[in-house]
Amino acid sequence: MKGFSLASMKSHPSLIPLYVCVALGCSGAVLYTIRLAVRSPEVSWNKKSNPEPWNEYANKQHKFYSPVRDYSNIESPAPKYD
């Protein structure tokens, strides 16, 4: 079928937004999964060197968008069990 290769896209330019949206969606899903794997406060790849991965976020912001408070200035209110 025409429109699937780079050359035939010129004769079907209306497919380009479709490819863009699908590519955005797929890459969003993949990138978010990778973010969950490496940056989630509950994932620990090496239990000996990182036994409590949530401590990394005591002063950092994990949310994408935080208009209310600046997380680099506040300490997490959770109790410390060291």
């Binding site: 209306s14 479709l18 949206c21 949310k63 994408f64 968008y65 935080s66 208009p67 209310v68």
Partner: protein, 199 residues
């Protein structure tokens, strides 16, 4: 009656499909409308972007916890809730459902508990929900709050009660034989009454 309607609609759609497949005529003006296709793909995408941006912002803002004055912890067990107020004095209690007395018409069946969660009104309260054994869910529909109680995980939520009174809820995650029999009662009182109670 319903089946007849379904059959008629199905027959009509099948007829349209068959006539399209068998039809060899081509409307030469209808195909290959690339510009209009481009427009009616991009324009709705842009409109959706305009809808998404404030919506996502609102979603993040709704989740914010604004300086709660106290934190209560609730732990779901099979089949009761236990509550801990650890901020000033250490108060801990369990909350079991009271069995229904059929001659006491002033109590709600399946909704009353022996210990109510007493909370001050007009105060922002943070609640941390977890479970001790299986999944439960802590909810008060009149406050618009529901948080799953997962063993091994702390889920945080927050609310503010604007009126005094009794607010009811029920466990919302199937947790065994008595899942329908572990209700939640919040008793919302003035701040002075709350301080009296907690002493």
């Amino acid at each position: 009656h319903t089946l007849m309607i379904i059959t008629m609609i199905l027959a009509m759609v099948l007829y349209f499909m068959a006539s399209m497949i068998i039809n060899e005529l081509v409307d030469r003006y209808m195909l290959e409308g690339q510009t209009i296709e481009l427009m009616w793909t991009i324009a709705p995408a842009v409109i959706l972007l305009f809808i998404t941006t404030p919506s996502l912002r609102l979603l993040y803002l709704m989740d914010e916890i604004h300086n709660p004055i106290m934190t209560i912890k609730t732990i779901g067990h099979q089949w009761y809730w236990s509550y801990e107020y650890s901020d000033f004095v250490n108060v801990e209690f369990d909350s079991y459902m009271t069995p229904y007395e059929s001659d006491n018409k002033s109590m709600f069946r399946l909704l009353e508990t022996d210990n109510h969660v007493t909370l001050p009104m007009h105060s922002f309260i943070r609640i941390i929900v977890t479970a001790a054994d299986v999944l439960h869910s802590w909810t008060i529909p009149s406050l618009g709050i529901k948080a799953d109680a997962t063993p091994g995980r702390l889920n945080q939520s927050s609310f503010m009660i604007n009126r005094p009174g009794l607010l009811y809820g029920q466990c919302s995650e199937i947790c065994g034989a008595n899942h329908s029999f572990m209700p939640i009662v919040i008793e919302s009182v003035s701040t002075e009454s709350f301080i009296e109670w907690i002493k």
